[in-house]
Amino acid sequence: MANDLILRVVTKWLSPIIILFALYVQFHGDYSPGGGFQAGVIFSSAILLYSLTYGLDAGLQLIPEYILRIGASLGVLIYGGVGVASMVLGGNFLNYSVLGSTPVAGQHLGIIIIELGVGITVASVMVLLFFTFARRVAPE
């Protein structure tokens, strides 16, 4: 597919828009439909589109695999870290109310941070799955 001009041009224009949309879904998820999981999947679909069009090596150049491995673990760490932080600050595990000056501010902050953790993990794992599968495709 790497030689198809239309695909290459469309992908070049579409990928940044998909990533922008993923960021919108991520950070606007508390006002509109969406959230970390959806945003992570949409983000990874942009990388998938890029790798499908330009080849696996271009995708690996864009995001090396070790970053994905770190990202996958980092997301869960952020999520669990928020839980531990709320415990340290005197609440129960994952009780965000103690994180901010008021309970509502704390809840809002906690939700945004854990959604970010979910997004990072989901995006990394989805791209990682694709790279792992795609590497087994024998070259033409």
């Binding site: 879904v25 998820g29 508390d30 006002y31 509109s32 439909p33 969406g34 959230g35 999981f37 959806q38 999947v41 949409i42 990874s44 679909s45 998938l48 499908l52 491995r69 996958a72 673990s73 997301g75 869960v76 999520y79 669990g80 839980g83 994952l94 965000y96 309970p103 509502v104 501010a105 809840q107 809002h108 906690g110 939700i111 854990i114 959604e115 953790g117 979910v118 993990t121 989901v122 990394s124 794992v125 989805m126 990682l128 799955l129 694709f130 792992t132 599968f133 795609a134 590497r135 087994r136 495709v137 024998a138």
Partner: protein, 186 residues
């Protein structure tokens, strides 16, 4: 209006399911599964569940179709489904029985949007009444998923990570890949 949309979506869903059954080409089957997911996502929108529709469209139509296609590409031959002429009576009986049980089960499901139904009486009512006040998040789905059910979501994220680790352990090893290439190359 919503009845017409529902009807169109459900008819197409049925057509798609039959097409998946009928086709013998695995590539077409993967694409049809993607279309099926897209139709289900449309149904979720009609049912006022945009969050679920989002997930279905992105995961069902996008990622899983791509993963299926990549899997098909990595098993070079075998794009045609070989159908064996075994007896089909037992699977048919199981399918009819299962379908009958599911249809029987739907009689006990609460009416769609019925405020008096059991699941809407207890925690859901509290989420709706106090959710925004307690979390400050207008999207109730996010409030429930991220705050009230924070433990569940932590579990979900861990499941995603575990799935990734599992795939990496099974397919990520470069040594095994080389063995496969050698055996293919003879």
């Amino acid at each position: 209006m919503s009845l017409v949309v529902n009807l169109v979506l459900l008819v197409f869903l049925l057509v798609m399911a039959l097409a998946v059954l009928k086709t013998r080409h695995l590539f077409a089957m993967a694409m049809l599964f993607g279309l099926y997911s897209l139709l289900v996502a449309g149904l979720f929108v009609v049912l006022d569940a945009p969050d679920v529709a989002f997930t279905e469209a992105a995961v069902g139509t996008g990622i899983s179709t791509v993963l299926m296609l990549v899997t098909l590409a990595s098993i070079k031959d075998g794009h045609e489904l070989v159908s064996t002429q075994k007896s089909r009576t037992a699977p048919l009986i199981i399918c009819v029985l299962m379908g009958g049980l599911l249809i029987y089960g739907t009689h006990d499901i609460a009416e769609l949007g019925d405020p008096q139904s059991a699941p809407h009486m207890q925690v859901a009512a509290r989420y709706i009444e106090k959710g925004q006040e307690e979390t400050g998040v207008p999207n109730l789905v996010t409030a429930v998923l991220a705050s009230y059910r924070g433990f569940d979501t932590l579990g979900e994220v861990t499941v995603v990570l575990t799935a990734g680790i599992g795939v990496l352990m099974l397919l990520g090893s470069r040594k095994k890949l080389r063995i496969k290439e050698v055996s293919n190359g003879k």
